[in-house]
């Protein structure tokens, strides 16, 4: 059953897929990598709405990427559906174990404990010579049963996959945020004990949110691995996880589209900071971050409301 909004979304998705055929390749590449990260951030937003900030989403980002890498190496397949499924499975399995422990934690302890787990994965990978240690290894680019159209100097398949996944997951999470379980997140952030009094198991709600976030993160990792063609343990390092939090706060948690768009804007910003000022790009990023926090406390997404208000008056 298609209502007006889903119809517009569908048209937008198809339009973006078609635009991919004409946009310069560096841009579709950037968008693909950004959407990979955007999915991780979307997962992070699920947690953040419940008041939990994970500094360890790199764990699943990296696990998804390595699942793709290992599977394409050892099973020797480049089937994009199979690879994505394996990555999601990896995220699901790891998070359903780790989540049992982590769902008991809150605040900074949740953040640090999740970081500890991702740093342990980092350590294990750095110690694994057969997986290339800190250098990592290359991953062949994927195809859909041999179908991988080249456009403007590179395979466009990953871009399409990223767009489709972004829309599918975006729609699912959008529905989820409106469901009782989704709304429970905000209630938990406000007051956990009252939620318990209402007969809802806070731990269970958080456990499920944690797993959802993990699956999104490992999907994002898989997209990155397939697009970049190279994976390394850096993906599990705390700075990578920190970057996700950075994007989430920059974008805002107001809407499912915010993290996805925010990721694209962040990648563009960084890429141009690199180009304009190779020696002091960190300073540009830092100043931008502070400016957003000061002038747009609810993230870039709050610009939308301001714009809409401006349009109405």
């Amino acid at each position: 059953m298609l209502n007006k909004n889903s119809l517009i979304l569908l048209v937008l998705a198809v339009a973006l897929i078609l635009i991919g055929l004409v946009m310069p390749y560096w841009f579709s590449f950037l968008v693909t990598v950004a959407l990979g990260k955007g999915l991780v951030v979307l997962g992070l937003v699920i947690l953040m709405r419940a008041g939990l900030v994970s500094f360890g989403q790199g764990l699943y980002y990296c696990a998804g990427a390595y699942a793709v890498g290992a599977f394409s190496h050892f099973v020797e397949t480049d089937n994009v559906i199979l690879l994505l499924a394996v990555a999601m499975l990896a995220g699901l399995v790891i998070s359903s174990v780790v989540g049992l422990l982590l769902s008991r934690y809150r605040d900074i302890f949740f953040a640090m404990f999740s970081m500890a787990f991702s740093m342990i994965l980092y350590g294990v990978l750095v110690k694994s010579a057969e997986l290339g240690s800190s250098d990592g290894f290359n991953v062949t680019s994927p195809s859909l049963f041999g179908f991988a159209p080249e456009v403007n100097g590179g395979s466009i398949l990953s871009y399409w996959v990223a767009i489709i996944l972004a829309f599918v997951f975006g729609a699912i999470i959008w529905r989820y945020f409106k469901s009782p379980m989704g709304v429970a997140g905000e209630a938990i952030r406000e007051n956990e004990i009252r939620v318990e009094y209402l007969g809802v198991s806070v731990q269970k709600v958080i456990y499920i949110k944690y797993i959802m976030a993990a699956v999104l993160a490992s999907t994002g990792g898989a997209i990155t691995a397939m697009t970049v063609g190279h994976i390394d343990p850096e993906m599990a390092y705390w700075t990578t996880s920190g970057e996700f939090v950075f994007i989430a706060l920059m974008a805002g948690t107001g809407h499912v589209a915010a993290p996805l768009l925010g990721a694209v804007i962040f990648e563009l910003l960084r890429s141009f900071a690199f180009q304009v000022s190779p020696y002091t790009w960190q300073m540009i990023l830092g100043i931008t971050l502070l400016a957003i926090i000061i002038f747009l406390p609810k993230g870039l997404w709050s610009l939308k409301d301001k714009l809409m208000k401006g349009a109405k008056s």
Partner: protein
Amino acid sequence: MNLALAVLVDGVVYSSWLFLIAAGLTLIYGVMKILNMAHGSFYAIGAYSGASLIGVYFAGGNPPWASYLLLIGVAMVAGLIVGLLIERGFLRFMYGRDEVVMILVTYGILLILEDTIKLLWGVDPYFAYQPYTLLGRTKISSLSFANYDFMLIAVTAVVAFILWWSLNRTKAGKILQSVIHDREIAGALGVNVTKIFTITFVIGAFLGAFAGAMTAPGISVVPGIGIEVIILAFAVVVIGGLGSVGGAFVGALIVGLSRALSVHLYPDGELFVIYGVMGLVLAFRPQGLFAIASARKI
């Protein structure tokens, strides 16, 4: 025998270094509830100012013993300037924001400071090894240790004592503790919370810069050293319980000794040990070892 001795001394030396770094971080968190990512930059600024001034100082042929005082002086000035600039010029406009947002704010400051340091000092290494080698070494059994490291232990002990004493035995310290326990009530009772915040932040910045200045003689001061210590300091502080100075002390000891043990008995594990310890402690004490009790929201 040798092994036990080595583990003990190495562990305690490393612990005292960790505590010096973590003390300012935990103090700022305790009072202001800001997990200050820029603490690593304070450390780097202290190290850079110390190393560059020591270099000039020895090039001028001045009496070597006074260089230790110089290190302390440098840290004080650097901490005061940077601390005041950041707190007065920036942070005070952000109070009341979410804790996570404050982490991001300090992360932004860290990014800016990292490049500022690069613009001021360049990327070439700075050395200030004279104070480090000046004190000579001591042979215990068949092992030699640098006397500077023993001095570091003593300095850390003094810093820890001063912190404990001024927090628990002075009026200012009691006022500070009241702010730690409940900012609003303390404010209602007439405590000038804003002033306390400024002072705490400057002391925290000084402690960070001091750790850097004390470390500088034994290392090569290069870009990125600040980033490397942040996570170490975070781990120590989380193990000990956020905001607790005593907890940071114990946390530093646990991490330092386990790392030394791992280096001597299982070198491959060095990479994991700190996270392993952190995971283990958090698994059994979800709030860290000496967490400050917080009221339940009902």
